[in-house]
């Protein structure tokens, strides 16, 4: 169910990119797509009622390896690290896109993509 909602969010973003005519709205659509993917990544590593993947000295209590119980109840930390990376990349691309929008507005005086079409063929 949650996965379906996540996919729906991705599709809303894609719809926004494909249908909207305002450049800023297209940029927002791309951002929504990115959040949907990030959310999906987090959900892939999530475990209901799981615990944080941190081992304290008491948990080990003399053992040299973590127990199977620990592995089976913790949340996967890797997707969270990946999502951090992808958020940073997303920030970079969002900044570049917005600055492009500003420069295009200076040149053409509009945000409407149907009026910005000097390239053809």
């Amino acid at each position: 169910m949650l996965y379906t909602l996540c996919f729906l969010l991705f599709m809303i973003g894609l719809y926004c990119v494909l249908v909207k005519k305002n450049m800023v709205k297209i940029v927002i659509g791309l951002a929504v797509m990115e959040y949907a993917v990030n959310l999906f990544f987090i959900m892939a590593g999530y475990r209901t009622n799981g615990q944080a993947p941190i081992i304290s000295p008491q948990d080990l209590a003399g053992k040299t390896e973590v127990t199977a119980n620990f592995i089976n109840t913790t949340v996967d930390p890797l997707p969270q690290a990946l999502v951090l990376t992808s958020i940073v990349i997303g920030l970079g691309s969002l900044a570049l896109m917005i600055s492009l929008c500003v420069r295009i507005y200076e040149k053409y005086g509009t945000f409407d993509i149907t009026e910005i079409r000097r390239l053809r063929g």
């Binding site: 991705f10 791309l30 993917v37 992808s86 896109m97």
Partner: protein, 504 residues
Amino acid sequence: MSYRLPAFIFVPLVTAFVLPLFGKKGKSVAALLANVVTIALLALAISCLGQREVYEVGKWPIPLGINLVLDGLSCLVLVIINIVAASAMLYSTRYMEQYTAKSKYLSLFMLLVTSLNGAVLSGDIFNLFVFLEIASLTSYALVGFGCGDEELEASFKYMVLGEIASMIILFAIALVYANTGALNMAYVSKAIQTRSLNPSLTFALAFFIAGFGLKAALVPFHAWLPDAHSSAPAPVSAMLSGVFIKVLGVYALTRLIFNIFGISIPLGWILIALGVLSMVAGVFLAVGQWDFKRLLAYHSISQMGYVVIGIGMGTLILAQGGDILWASLAILGGLFHLINHAVFKSLLFLTSGSVEMSTGTRQLKQMGGLADKLPFTRATCTIASASIAGVPPFNGFWSKLILVVAAFQSRMFWLAAITVIVSLVTLISFLKVQKYIFLGELPDNLKDVKENKGTMLIAMLFLSGLCIAMGLLLLPAMKDVVLDPAVQVLTDGLGYSSKLIVAQ
């Protein structure tokens, strides 16, 4: 452990951040430094030929950390990236004088080289995505570098489609991770072999094909390419058309299909269909163009089709359990055309830049009779045109010949026929280029046009020398070192993972 592999990423990355420090006054020093770095990287890439190497980043063992893998295929692509990067950089030393902020350009260019090298060497799918994003972001900035209205428009268009592609690829990576619990290519491949493809992995594969297809500008996904590649400054077009679409499109896709997901008959047909569509649609759209760089950009789509059908035929023959000899021949044709196309298409873009710099226009109809005025540009442009059209002694002929032979041997006569017809149409469109630019009457406003000398000329002569000499790669001694290891990686298919894990 040798530090050769991280040097491919680390050296240009550091250079990229040092270059802007030189500012306006030291820009000739900056240009010199950038050239030294690209040429050194080229030498390093050539020294890697025919070797295998694995480097673990930060000494983390393989399934935990990121690893860099050098094998036959990545080595071949690495060499071609650095050949094109070195000549484009040499060319930009003079060409980019007409733009302001040259040191920023050099910095972005170095970042592009960094990310392309990284994407080829990476053995980890998420790391591949990171390099792909760095490459895409720098290329959006480079396409819009002139900051004219057309450049910005092309850059925005390219960026929207490119970002959709990146998001689709990231989604597919998330799906793969959710299903296999690994990001390392070898371990993902092993997990897929033990569990076989389930529906969500098939879905991920479809997303990968769509995403990398968009980056490679194969035909249903090609709309951004002509705008972006024709609006960029000439050396950047050479980089984008020459290596960007190959590394992030075809290389990544073949790596995923052959070495990770495993080949199947439907995949072979999908690749052939994409290839044929790109080949035919690209060339027919190209013939009607009157803007020189736009015409070249459409030809990039068409020539990428050749590469993809070669690889598609190989996939199909292997999946049907056919003769491995013909499968390797088809793949060899595809990969050989990939490197040939990188050389002659970047040369064509460089000559187009030279013509544009001398005459100030890209419109074929406004030029003519430049043969006497631009003798060197004319000579190099003719060599490159003959190569792309597949005229005998030049490199394009040999790869097309291999593709046609492979199509005949695998009993796909229609494919061989299409290949030959597309080649003829390519010849026609380049005869048109020659006629309108270099022959005919010289317009009055172009009477005092001058040839571009210096580094631009050296870069063009270097690449045209390669166009003539690359047919020699088919000699057995050269083929064993350069091409065969790359073909081997693909025909081995899923053996990739076991080799890598055992190598530990």
